[in-house]
Structures are given as C-alpha cells and as structure tokens.
C-alpha cells in the first residue's frame, strides 16, 4: 500500500552500495533469497479466508503470509477480528455459500487496522479459537448457541413500558415477530431542501414523491402497515425520524435520498447501511462498563448518558440484517434502473445509527448530474425506483420471516 510504503526517505543509494559490496561474498541466488525473505516486511498482509463444516461445528480460518497480532470482539450474531496491520483482502464483502452457521464476512480498513466482521446465521457462538503456524492461521470453531439473544437497547424517547406482572413460570425467549410495520423516511423537507440540481430540482420533493409511491406499493401488495416520518413538505429532525420508527415498533427503516457530489460526472445508485466506527466501539465498551456500575445502587449519575450511548448504538444489533436488506434493494435498483451500480456501502449515518431495526439509506440517483437530474424529474423513472425498492423489500421480508428465523 502506498501509505505504508512511502519509500522516499529510505537511503536507497547506500543500500545499493552495500549490496554491491556484498556481491563478492554472496551468490546471486542468496541475494534472491534475502530479498524474498524481506519482501513480506514491505507489503500489506495477504489474508485468505476459508471455511469448512464438520460434525457439530463450523470452522473459519484466516490464513496469512506472515504472523500478525489480533483482537477478537464477540457480539450477538457476529464477531470481529481486528488485525493490527492492514490486510490485502480481495473484495469488501464475501458471502459464505452453503454454510449452516456462517453468512458473510465484511472487510474494512480503519487507519492501520484491518477489521474482519463475521456474520453468523442464527445464534452461532465461538467454541474455540487457536493459532496454527506454517502458514500462520487463526482458526475459529463455531457451534450453535443455546443462549437466548441479548436484550436490545431502547431509545430514550420511547416511553417506558410498565413491567409485566411476575409469572410463576418464566416464558420461553420470544422469537422476533414477522415483519408487520415498515417505516419509510423521505429525506430532508421543509426548510431543509437537501441537494439542489442545476435546473433547481430539490431533493426533498423527489424523496417525498418516491416515498408516497413506495408506501402505496407496499400497502397494496403486501397489506403491511407502512408509516412515514413525513408525508408532506415539513422539516423533521434526524432524531425524531429515528424515534418515530422506534416508537411505532417498525421492523424495517428505509430512508430515501437523491445524491450529490462535488464531481459533476458522478452518477448511479447506491445503498448504504451503517458502519461501526472505532469510536462506536469505544462507546459500546463505555456503555458496558457503565451498565455494570448501574448494578451498584449508589451509581445513578450517568444513567442518562448511558441511555444516550445505548441509543446511539441501537443499530449495532441489526447490522447483519441491514446489510442483507441493502444488498436486496441495490440488486433490484441495478436491474430495473439501468443506472451505474455504485454498490452497497457503509457510512456512519446519523439517522440510521439510532434506529433499532434493519435500516438502510438509498441514494437513488445523482441530482448533481445533469442527465440524472432530468431522469429524476420523470414520473416513470420515479415509479421504477419505487418498484425496485419494493422488490428488494419484499425479498427481504421473505428472507427475514422464513430464512433468518
């Protein structure tokens, strides 16, 4: 990688002189061996992943061309392998085919760290983790978990429910309900115009039009309940949008936007789900620490702060589902719109972070691109967008209700 190999300050000339003088003593083949031995120091870590299914467990192996230090973080439904150096891994997302416990692996680079997030199918848990040498391998054996899922964090704006009366026999852990309510979030509105095209087309109007079309499609074709964060030209804060979805117990959140770039030639559609930044991880660790402190009756000062942290982390538990939803929707947009596929991406969206449900943000097309602005003025194009999103959503509903559970 360029950033690691900024070799401008290496005294290349002195190394060359040294090597020339060493030629008297060393054969050319030995030179080759030395260079070969040193080459791993100069390149990014080459990482390969393989999986295999065995009786009672599934194995996932991270194999590298040299040893590395790592840390593992486990959460319900996923684990993260953080490498202390940057890894060269082809592709950001790798879908694991035909595995009973593994769904996908996402690779991200943060600073000089590489993070591999492994998403499990259902309630899998890490049974064993060990390291093997020659070549260097980090091995995880996964098995199906017996434990019920951890409780979800709630938003501060959700009114607190009174606890259920005590029961003689505690109920079995409840399975998540099939999808009944979907929240559509048309981006911007009111004085917040969003991005504006060259011919003055406003993003807030485009998103509202698509939102209405999508609502109509979902209601008429599935009979599900659809709520909207705004159904007219009004300004709604990002926090309120997330609260509306959380309070109405929506099980899917779809934020609709039109994109804009400083590069006027940029075009195409892309779908985002939230990214877990390193600072989010710090917040989560702080929240867990504070959670322990709250068991001490004397420690109540940071309760509000904790609630806020947990609210900010609300999306963490749903990243796997959000990623799947984004993938379904983006595939349909590619197929129906014929625009450039910019793919599924991750970014720390404020509105998505605080939703406690699978949540995505769709950038339908670039309002800053003259051609795409014209398209966004066309009713038929907006119909196509709504239909593509509906198709993706309906595929996700089937996946969520029948496969995921």
């Amino acid at each position: 990688m360029e950033s690691l190999l900024d070799a401008g300050s290496i005294p290349a000339a002195s190394i060359a002189i040294f090597l020339r003088s060493m030629k008297k003593f060393i054969k050319p083949s030995t030179f080759f061996i030395i260079i070969l031995a040193l080459s791993p120091l100069l390149t990014a870590l080459a990482v390969g992943i393989r999986t295999s299914d065995h009786e009672g467990f599934t194995r996932i192996v991270f194999e590298a061309d040299r040893s590395f230090t790592y840390a593992v973080q486990k959460r319900p439904g996923q684990m993260q392998l953080r490498l202390s150096s940057r890894a060269d891994f082809r592709g950001r997302t790798w879908a694991v085919q035909d595995s009973p416990l593994l769904e996908r692996v996402i690779h991200e680079i943060q600073g000089n760290e590489s993070i591999f997030t492994v998403f499990f199918k259902g309630d899998a848990t890490v049974k064993k983790n060990f390291v093997l040498e020659k070549p260097f391998r980090v091995v995880f054996d996964l098995e199906k978990s017996e434990k019920p899922a951890a409780p979800l964090p709630s938003a501060p704006e959700i009114p607190e429910k009174k606890p259920d009366p005590p029961q003689e026999n505690p109920p079995a852990p409840a399975k998540p309900k099939p999808i009944e309510t979907i929240c559509i979030d048309p981006g911007h509105g009111g004085e917040d115009l969003g991005a504006i095209g060259k011919s003055k087309l406003q993003e807030k109007n485009v998103t509202l039009q698509i939102g209405h079309k999508l609502k109509k499609l979902i209601e008429s074709r599935t009979g599900l309940r659809v709520i909207m964060t705004r159904d007219k030209d009004s300004e709604v804060s990002l926090n309120t949008r997330a609260s509306i979805a959380n309070n109405q117990l929506a099980q899917m959140f779809i934020s609709i936007h039109a994109n804009s770039s400083f590069r006027k030639s940029a075009y195409g559609s892309e779908t985002f789900f939230v990214s877990l930044q390193a600072t989010d991880q710090e917040s989560l660790e702080l929240a867990q620490k504070e959670n322990q402190n709250l068991e001490d009756p004397g420690e109540t000062i940071k309760n509000d702060e904790l609630k806020m942290i947990l609210w900010n982390m609300a999306q963490t538990e749903y990243i796997r589902e959000s990623s799947k939803l984004a993938e379904y929707v983006q595939n349909e947009l590619n197929e129906l719109l014929g625009t450039r596929n910019r793919g599924v991406k991750q970014a720390p969206f404020r509105v998505l972070m605080r939703t406690a449900m699978p949540a995505i943000l769709i950038e339908t097309a670039f309002i800053s691109n003259n051609n795409e602005e014209k398209k966004l003025k066309n009713e038929e194009f907006l119909d196509k967008i709504a239909f593509a999103i509906y198709n993706g959503v309906s595929k996700f509903i089937y996946y969520y209700n029948n496969i995921l559970k």
Binding site: L193, D280, R350
Partner: protein, 191 residues
C-alpha cells in the same frame, strides 16, 4: 565455503536486516532540503528554515479516487501552525483537480489533542450553510480532509470537525459529525 566466511556472511546478513528494519521503523517523513532550496526561500546566515514535502490528494472528474500532488511547506515552530498551513494549502486547491470544499469556507482554528492523537478542525459557518448537500459530497469532504491529514502527519490518528466553534450533528443531514473520523485510505488507492 569455510566456517569463517559463513560467519562473515551471517553477520553481514544480520547487520543488513537490522539496518533495513531500523530505516523502515525510524525513518522520518520530514525531508530537510539542501542549501540551494533554503537560499531560494531567502534564508541566509545561521537561520535555518525547515521544509517538509507533503503529498496532497485531490479529486478529479475522471477518477473516483483521490489523486496525489506534491508540494513543499515551511515548518513553523508551533505544530498547530503547521497544520493550519497545510490545510490552507490543501484548500487553495490544484488546477485540474477538484477540491471538495465550498468556496469561502475558512478554517477558524486547529487544536491537536496529543492524549487522543486527535486533530480538531473548527471551520466557519459557511461550511454548513454553503454545503451543496448529498451523501457523496459529505463523504468526499470528510475523507478529503481526514485522509490528507492522517497520511501526511502520522501523529494524527483521527479528526473531529467543529462548525463555528460548536459541535454539529451533520454537515447536510447525513453523516454523523459529532464523532471523530479515522482515515479511510481506500479513497487513496489507485484504480
């Protein structure tokens, strides 16, 4: 090969590896220029001015990745002043490239928090009010600033943005601006 020559070979090899590792680990990214460059800068006598060579990355219409441009800047005594100079140079742009920052946006101040290895950038209100909107534009601005700073100054591990001296929720309604950003050098890779 005799035992003695094998020993010489092994010792030489070990010295070479140690030297190379030392160079890789302790190399400085600042480049001091030779007297002719100092003369060009009008420096004479016992006063020495240090310059660093920086690699600025800009967008272009033909690539989705940031493109490198090389520049030199004089190193002031105070670290924050160096960051200010660097950012001023960055914001001044480069012909043929795109600077993803609205015109008239200015940096109000810079703070480096050593304990957090974090640089705090405080821009004037125009950053928000003149921002064109759009997720891509927000990400372009954020990673243009963060990647350029973290690439050129290894002591900066993350960057936090303030607008008009205050924390801002977002730039234009999308990306959470209250948390600091780590670099994403994926934006710098060549196509």
């Amino acid at each position: 090969m005799t035992k003695k020559s094998r020993m010489v070979l092994l010792i030489s090899l070990a010295v070479f590896i140690v030297m190379l590792l030392a160079v890789l680990l302790f190399r400085k990214k600042t480049v001091k220029f030779e007297p002719e460059l100092l003369n060009k800068a009008g420096v004479s006598g016992a006063t020495f001015t240090e310059f660093i060579k920086v690699k600025l990355f800009y967008f272009s219409e033909t690539s989705i990745y940031l493109q490198p441009v090389y520049r030199e800047i004089e190193v002031p005594e105070i670290k924050e002043e160096l960051y200010k100079k660097f950012i001023a140079l960055l914001l001044s742009g480069d012909s043929g490239h795109i600077t993803p920052v609205p015109e008239a946006v200015q940096l109000r101040s810079v703070y480096y928090l050593e304990s957090k290895e974090m640089l705090v950038l405080d821009f004037n209100d125009l950053l928000s009010s003149a921002f064109p909107g759009g997720t891509s534009a927000e990400l372009e601005f954020i990673y243009f600033m963060v990647d350029n700073l973290c690439y050129n100054f290894r002591e900066i591990k993350k960057v936090k943005f303030l607008i008009g001296g205050n924390e801002s929720k977002t730039l234009a309604g999308h990306i959470d601006l209250e948390k600091p950003f780590y670099p994403n050098f994926e934006w710098l890779k060549s196509e």
